[in-house]
């Protein structure tokens, strides 16, 4: 198992839901509640040292519930390895999770993109507004129920 996954399991036993491995990539499914603490721990722990956040992505698994998930791809320059964090959000109607912009500045625009296209709110984001679509756009186009040609 990935050393960071082991570490997370021992440090946050109540937060880690599942650890998945696929072709050498490790995904740790966590609960959304303490994402900031987990992020800060993974960044500042000297052994895993995930100083770099590659991407934050929102996902819509529409017929399933919980419907929305947020994925964080982390990279450690020190160990040259990657870790994926995945958190399923509780609400299917008003998805929300804490922002990690205070931990990795990269998250700023990535979270805005997830908000813009999927309507996932990031609590504590310094300026959560649309980034790709025009500011007056209605709806969130990457949600599965959104019509292909728009509203």
């Amino acid at each position: 198992m990935h050393p960071a996954a082991e570490l997370l399991k021992s440090k946050f036993p109540s937060e880690v839901v599942e650890v998945m491995e696929f072709r050498g990539d490790t995904t740790v499914v966590i609960k959304p509640g303490r994402i900031k603490e987990i992020g800060l721990f993974l960044r500042d722990d000297p052994t895993v040292a995930f100083k770099y956040l590659s991407v934050v992505a929102g996902i819509d698994y529409f017929p399933q519930s919980p419907r929305f998930a947020v994925v964080y791809n982390l990279y450690s320059h020190k160990n040259h390895n990657r870790l994926t964090l995945k958190a399923y959000l509780e609400s299917d109607t008003a998805p929300v999770i804490d922002s990690v912009t205070s931990i990795w500045a990269t998250a700023d625009w990535h979270e805005r993109e997830a908000y813009d296209l999927l309507g996932i709110k990031f609590r504590g984001h310094p300026g959560l507004k649309r980034i790709l679509l025009p500011q007056d756009w209605k709806g969130f186009p990457l949600r599965k129920e959104y019509p292909q040609r728009g509203e």
């Binding site: 790709l132 679509l133 025009p134 186009p141 959104y146 019509p147 292909q148 040609r149 728009g150």
Partner: protein
């Protein structure tokens, strides 16, 4: 050398409408702007191999206020639409619009929420050039079709005919 050798000291008669239309079609000035891959074909049309200067329109103007032809070359996104409308409105009258390529004509392969499904939903298009992208010959053919259209533009007699028709209706 030119036309003056054949004509010598002579007088030509024509109608005002015809000579103005001829002048307009012979010096179309396109606005410099491209949106997607079609713009590459438009640029190469202006370069030496196809040489748009043969038709009196090598002057691509960077200011819409000096241009009278808008070649909508490429995919128009809804986010781009306000900028395009603004450019069009800044252009001087009379002005013409060419929808170049499948995307500008109908949205093309992009049957989706961010793409305008044909520029004719917003602007009055004079000539549609299909293709993805059209070759430079295609663009030149479209421009020649626009020349034909401008030559037949009854901008003076149309007003006169409309007045006449209104008078007839009143009587």
């Amino acid at each position: 050398m030119g036309i003056e050798e054949k004509l010598g000291y002579n007088v030509l008669t024509t109608t005002l409408e015809k000579i103005v239309d001829w002048g307009r079609k012979s010096s179309l000035w396109p606005a410099t702007f491209g949106l997607a891959c079609c713009a590459i074909e438009m640029i190469v049309t202006a370069a030496n191999r196809w040489d748009i200067a043969r038709f009196g329109m090598e002057a691509f103007r960077a200011s819409p206020r000096q241009a009278d032809l808008m070649i909508v070359a490429g995919t128009v996104t809804k986010k781009m639409m306000p900028a395009i409308e603004r450019i069009y409105e800044q252009m001087t009258e009379p002005k013409w619009v060419i929808a170049m390529g499948a995307c500008a004509c109908s949205g093309g392969i992009f049957d989706s929420y961010p793409v305008v499904q044909g520029i004719d939903l917003y602007l009055p298009v004079d000539v549609y050039i299909p293709g993805c992208p059209p070759r430079p010959e295609g663009l030149l053919y479209g421009i020649l079709k626009l020349h034909e259209k401008i030559l037949k533009d009854p901008f003076l007699t149309k007003q006169y005919r409309e007045k006449l028709a209104a008078r007839k209706e009143a009587a």
